[in-house]
């Protein structure tokens, strides 16, 4: 079922553009986000961490509609209500919309540390790795050492100025 529905480069731009057009508060997270940053691994779907609010939920529904995701009225309502974890396989690619990922204190905290490039809003690799560690999943725990080394290489290549004392302690 659903073979051949790959995530194509142009779809990445379409997501970013649709979410920007509809003013969705979101961040790419998960291994897909790390792939966007240059992680030399593979993943099968796209995960986004979204701010939980009815307004943001309605914006997400509108954005997904523009991307040809087919959502019933009930499914739209569940997105607007902001259930913690929503899996969508009714569009041109698989998408998980997560309102409460493991290991990340809040959307606001992650958003403050976000990376932006080419119109993409991506969670900080440290937050992504913290979430994977907190998830406790077999496949994530096994990959953590590689993710940490990638994070180090990424931060070496993209140094960010320290803004707060807690940036040093993280």
């Amino acid at each position: 079922m659903n073979e051949g529905r790959e995530f194509r480069p142009e779809q990445a731009v379409e997501i970013a553009r649709a979410f920007a057009t509809h003013e969705v508060d979101y961040l790419f997270i998960g291994k897909g986000a790390l792939v966007l940053l240059g992680y030399p691994g593979m993943t099968q779907d796209v995960d986004v961490f979204a701010r939980r609010s009815e307004q943001n939920g309605r914006r997400i529904v509108a954005a997904l509609g523009s991307l040809d995701f087919m959502l019933s009225a009930d499914e739209q309502a569940q997105l607007v209500r902001g259930k913690d974890f929503v899996q969508l396989k009714s569009g041109p690619f698989d998408l998980d919309v997560i309102f409460a990922p493991d290991g990340i204190a809040s959307f606001e905290a992650a958003d403050a540390r976000r990376l932006e490039f080419d119109g993409f809003r991506v969670a900080d690799p440290r937050d992504i790795i913290a979430s994977k560690r907190a998830s406790g999943r077999q496949k994530d725990l096994g990959e953590l050492p590689l993710l940490e080394k990638f994070r180090q290489e990424y931060e070496n290549a993209h140094p960010r100025p320290l803004r707060r004392a807690q940036d040093i302690s993280r």
């Binding site: 659903n2 792939v35 966007l36 240059g38 030399p40 593979m42 779907d45 077999q138 590689l146």
Partner: protein, 77 residues
């Protein structure tokens, strides 16, 4: 080659691969980084929503084939 030497070599190779991939354009990263295969049970529904992330983890533990790797590792495992 000792284990330590092998580990050092592998670490250097991985880091070099990271740097090469970061140097590639975004389209190339996506082309090589996203690949979809059919995941039994997981891909058999067009929509799922879970009240909590813990519910989602529990559903994965109880429903998905173990070889997909979604199972949570229990303490002492």
């Amino acid at each position: 080659m000792t284990d330590a030497e092998r580990e050092q070599r592998d670490d250097a190779l991985w880091r070099e691969q990271c740097r090469r991939q970061m140097a590639r354009p975004l389209a190339a990263r996506i082309k090589y980084g996203f690949h979809r295969t059919y995941k039994p049970v997981m891909d058999d529904a067009r929509f799922r929503a879970f009240d909590t992330t813990a519910d989602y983890r529990r559903w994965c533990d109880e429903n998905l084939p173990e070889w997909l790797g979604y199972r949570t590792v229990k303490p002492n495992e």
